[in-house]
Every structure is written in C-alpha cells, then in structure tokens.
C-alpha cells in the first residue's frame, strides 16, 4: 500500500491524459442509450404530475405568497400529495444510480478494461471521465426538466418570474446536480467494488431505500435512546433536537431537502428549531434576501459537495488498487 503512494508521486505524465476522449465517449454512450431515454421518461412522468396539479391549484387559488413562481416547485397539491421537489428528492438518486451502477464493472465484464488501460491513459482519467460524463448527462436531463417546468409555469400562470426567483431557481438546479453527484459517486463506488452489475445495482438501490425508509426511524430511535426521559429546559430540548438533526443530515436526501427549502421558500429563517431569542425583531412570513438564504443553506451545499468528493475519492482509491485482469 505504501508502494502505491510512492509510485503515484514518482510516475510521469499527467493523470488527465485522455480525459477528454473518455468523457466524450461516455457522454455519447449515455445520451444515445435506451436506458437514458427510460430514465428521462420516468423523471418526466414523476415530475409532470405534481407540477401539473400545482399549476392547477395556483391558477385557481389566490396565493398570498409573493414568490408565486417558486410555489410551482414547492406546493403540495392535495390531489397528488407530493410536491415537485419531494418527487425530485426521491427520483434524483434513482436516476444517478441508473447512470453509474455499471460504469466500471461493465468494462470488466465486457473485457474492455485491460485493452483501454493499455492505451496511454491512467486509471484516473478513466474514472474521472466516466464520473464527469455521468454528471453532465444528469445535469442535461435536469436542466431540460427545469426548463419545461418554468416554461409551463410561464404559459399557464402568465406571470413572468422575477429576477430573484430565477436566481433561486438556478441555485436549486446547482443543489440538485450536487445531490445527483453524491448518488452517482455512490453508484460508481459500488461498480468498482463489485464485479457483478446486478449486485452493484442492488447495493446502491438498497442504500437508497435505507436512507429513505429506515434512516428516519433509526435516527429517531437513537435520539429517544440518548435523550433524557424528561426534558426540563429549553437547552435540553435544543440539544436533543441537535442530535436528531445531526443524525438525519447523514442522509444526502435530508441535506438536499433542507437546501431546497432554504432556496425555494424564502420565508424560511432557520432549518432547526427556532428559539424565542432568534425571533426577536423578525416579521413572521417575511422573506429573507437571497444572499441570506444562501448563507443559511451553505453548510448543506458544502456537505453535499464534500460527500460527493469523499465517495468519489474512495472509489478512486479502490479502483487504483484493483487488478485489471479479468
């Protein structure tokens, strides 16, 4: 293992040699694949439903909110029971997993890996090229979806979005891409770990379900175990809440929904419990300026990006040590 490090320091030539060709090839593979079309249809179907009913509601009911456009994303229509962003929270991981779960092990199984690696590139370029191509594909699909939603909003509401709404919407796009990046990195990690594509898909999907279904229960169980039986003071209450939130934030989905809440619901002042001291001087329901919202959710954005980098680095380290022989 020590040899590996010393070798990396000594080897010559840029690790990014060949990154461009790998990226372009993977991108064209993704964009022309049937899987991509299926995923896009899936996302469109899932996204169209809440958006259509939100628009229906927004057209008929007078909403006092001044950020009318953002309400398309956040409104929970009664008929559907799920908002557009909640649907995305659920769907983005699935899409990212679909793009990444077989990226490395399929090269093993097709026996193309040793042939490709015998060309003048390092493994770094191969893995990074695949990741960036996946992320780009994902971003393209997401931007398309976003434009459709905004376009539908323009047509059906007849109210143009204000500048700040567009800015918040773009911020939402960036956060979504980072969230997808985390799951893409996770899927690629499994694709490096397991030679079987089915196993790696299953593991990635299992982790996704774990974070969605089990993790909230598990976190509250842990909190109720740790918390004192009787909460006597505000400080104690805050401490317990802190633990609960901290645990929940291990799930990328929590970070995503908090960040999106801050961006798309400008009246959000804090993501945790609000102490009376924090309320002093605040006008209830008044929106925060964009930069203040951004400041509030900055830790969430950092967390998502850091998670993506850490998981990708893990995949990278494992891939470097893997034997290429099939």
């Amino acid at each position: 293992m020590r040899r590996n490090d010393s070798r990396a320091a000594r080897r010559q030539g840029s690790p990014f040699t060949g990154l461009g060709p790998v990226f372009m090839k993977e991108l064209s593979d993704h964009l022309s694949s049937v899987r991509m079309m299926v995923l896009t249809l899936f996302v469109l179907a899932f996204g169209a439903f809440p958006v259509a009913s939100s628009l229906q509601t927004l057209r008929t009911v007078v909403d006092p909110n001044s950020f009318l456009f953002l309400r398309i994303f956040t409104l929970e229509p009664e008929q559907v029971g799920i908002s557009f962003i909640a649907a995305l929270n659920f769907i983005i991981p699935l899409m990212a997993i679909g793009l990444g779960f077989d990226s490395v092990n399929s090269e093993f199984n097709r026996r193309t890996l040793s042939r490709v690696l015998s060309q003048p590139i390092y493994r770094d370029a191969l893995l990074l090229g695949k990741f960036l191509a996946g992320l780009t594909t994902f971003a393209v699909a997401l931007v398309a979806l976003w434009l459709i939603v905004v376009g539908a909003g323009l047509l059906l509401l007849g109210v143009p979005p204000r500048g700040v709404e567009v800015a918040r919407g773009l911020g939402f796009l960036v956060v979504s891409v980072a969230y997808g990046g985390v799951w893409l990195a996770i899927a690629m990690l499994f694709s490096v770990l397991f030679r079987s594509t089915a196993t790696s898909a299953l593991c990635a999907l299992g982790l996704w379900l774990f974070f969605f279904l089990l993790w909230p229960q598990l976190a509250s169980a842990v909190v109720s175990g740790v918390a004192p039986s009787e909460i006597r003071s505000l400080e104690e209450y805050a401490a317990v809440q802190d633990i609960a939130m901290g645990l929940m934030r291990f799930s990328p989905g929590t970070l995503f929904s908090e960040a999106v809440l801050g961006l798309l619901s400008p009246e959000t002042r804090t993501l945790g419990p609000m102490l009376p001291a924090q309320m002093r001087g605040a006008i209830m329901g008044a929106p925060l300026p964009f930069d203040q919202s951004l400041l509030m959710i900055w830790p969430q954005i950092t967390g998502l990006v850091a998670g993506m980098v850490v998981v990708f680095a893990a995949a990278y380290v494992i891939f470097q040590r893997e034997e290429v022989r099939a």
Binding site: P21, K25, R110, P120
Partner: protein
C-alpha cells in the same frame, strides 16, 4: 536488427505469500517473435501486465523500449500494442467507432486516424465489416480487430496474450499469418500461450514458464536438445529390403525404433537422410517416405514437466 526492445532483470511479483513471478530474466529483440509458454497460472499474464505497467512490480526491473513501465507507463503504452486474453470491444459501437476511440486516446489527429483505421482493417481482412457493430463479430474477428488496433497504433512491440485460444483451426491459421505479418513489419512480438504446436510454428524463441520461473529459454531446437537430448530424429518408410538392418549400419545412427508396419523412427547424431536414401535404394528397397522429424515443443514440454514433477 539485434537491438533489444524488452529487457527484464529479476522481475518479481508477489501476491501475499505467493510468488506469482519469481525473479525472471529475459530479453526480446526487435523483429523477433518470442513465445511465453507454460500452464495456466504459471505467471505469464502477470509478467505481461508488469511490462505494461498495469500491475506493480514487487521487485526487479523491466525496460521496455528504454522506458520503465512503473514510472513512465504512458510512454510505454504509447509504443506497445496489447491484445488481452479474450479481448473485448464495445458491442454497441461499430469496429470503426471502437478503433476511433482508441485513436483518440492515442491523440492521433482525426484525418490520419481515419486512413490508419482503413489500412489496419484492410491488413486484417476486416475492411468489409468496418461499419458493422462489434456485437455481430465472431471470436476470431474480435481477435483480428485487436490486431488491427495494434497495427493502427503503429506499435513497436506487440504483446499478445493467448491470441489463439478458443479459435477454430482456420481462424488460428489466419491469425498466426497476421502475427507473422507484424514481424515482417519490424514489430517485436511477444505472445503467451499454452497451445504449443501453434506457438512452435511462429516463434523464433520461446521461454518455458513453470511456477513463476523461466525453466527453459531458447529456440525450439535448443530446448529439444536440452530436454530430449541431442539428436536428429527422422522417419523412414520403406519396403522390399531389410530396412531395419540397413538403417542400423548407416554411420551416425544411434537408435532405430519400429513405428508400425514398414516404418521406423531413427535418431542419429547428424542429418543422415541422404545416406539412408542411398543405402535403401541400392539395396533394392522401395523408399516411400523419408521425413525430418522436427522436435516437437509438445514433447519438450511434456517431458520437461514430467521430469520436474519427478524431481519434486
């Protein structure tokens, strides 16, 4: 033409406590075909991967065209073509697209790449399927496409891992012809195989692997002399005279062993075919066959491993 392209010195690879490759030395010259032979798991593929810098060495050194694959793998891989065991291509792409991808990785300018691809596909007789998806290719066609990749790359060294395994006799013959073509183009070819008779027909020199070590190295004749003992075996088929008696009297003949009806296997210390023919014909016999028996690599191999097992 005698300059060295690959030189290994004490090359070693250790997996845990298992010495997959144990301090081997060999060198390969420009324009020769060198065979790495040995049973599966003897360390052939590991040796190849170390030469390409695709796996780390545990000790010793290897020099490929003046570069160290550990420190300068890109330089090595730019000049060396590799055809892995059961090579894979992207099935959903055409042959042309597959080679185009390789050409991009090699940073060959687009226009030049197109002409090189066409030439390479022509040289392996795949020009007519250039725009067919690789999914429709047979195993033999995939191996040929792999050779085309090496030709397109204009590699100075071609490393072929089990190139003929799983091919039918006709495809094997064609592939070996293409390997000879590489040699004619001045490429040093290193090929590994456990299929001996096929290797024998193309290799200039061979190295026999056994448990991570090179047990024997040299030309097939040299190995045969080493393992089977010196001698010139010939096969004689004749009738109409006391052939066995005549054969025993020929100067230089060491042994005469009957091989079925009217056939004898003769081992002499020199080429005695002319003398044998003369004696039989003057004795009134009818000589129907007189064949020089090339020492067979298979025989060398079998005998060597028998002896190694007995010694162990």
């Amino acid at each position: 033409m005698a300059d060295t392209v690959i030189e290994a010195r004490g090359l070693t690879k250790v997996y845990g406590s298992h010495r997959a490759v144990d301090a081997i030395d060999f060198s390969i010259r420009r324009g020769e075909i060198f065979g790495l032979l040995g049973p599966n798991g003897a360390g052939k593929t590991t040796t190849i991967l170390m030469m390409l810098g695709l796996t780390e060495t545990s000790g010793g050194s290897v020099d490929v065209l003046g570069f160290d694959p550990v420190r300068q793998p890109l330089e090595v891989k730019r000049r060396v073509g590799y055809l892995p065991d059961a090579v894979g291509f992207y099935d959903h792409l055409t042959a042309r697209e597959n080679l185009r991808y390789t050409a991009r990785l090699l940073a060959i300018p687009r226009r030049e790449a197109e002409t090189r691809i066409a030439e390479a596909m022509e040289s392996v007789k795949l020009a007519d399927v250039l725009d067919k998806r690789v999914a429709t290719f047979s195993r033999g066609m995939r191996q040929r496409l792999g050779i085309a990749e090496i030709v397109m790359k204009r590699a100075e060294v071609a490393i072929l891992d089990e190139p003929t395994s799983g091919l039918d006799p006709h495809s094997t013959f064609e592939l070996l012809e293409m390997i000879r073509g590489l040699k004619r183009a001045g490429v040093a070819v290193l090929l590994s195989s456990h299929l001996l008779d096929r290797v024998q027909s193309v290799c200039d020199r061979v190295a026999l692997f056994n448990k991570g070590r090179i047990a024997l190295m040299g030309t097939v004749v040299e190995l045969a002399n080493q393992v089977l003992g010196a001698g010139h075996p010939i096969l004689v088929e004749a009738t109409g005279a006391d052939v066995a008696g005549i054969l025993r009297e020929v100067e230089g003949v060491q042994t005469v062993v009957p091989e079925g009806e009217g056939a004898w296997r003769v081992v002499a210390d020199r080429d005695v075919r002319a003398a044998v023919a003369h004696r039989i014909v003057t004795a009134g016999g009818a000589l129907t066959r007189l064949a020089d028996l090339q020492p067979s690599l298979e025989e060398v191999y079998t005998r060597y491993f028998e002896e190694a097992r007995r010694a162990a």
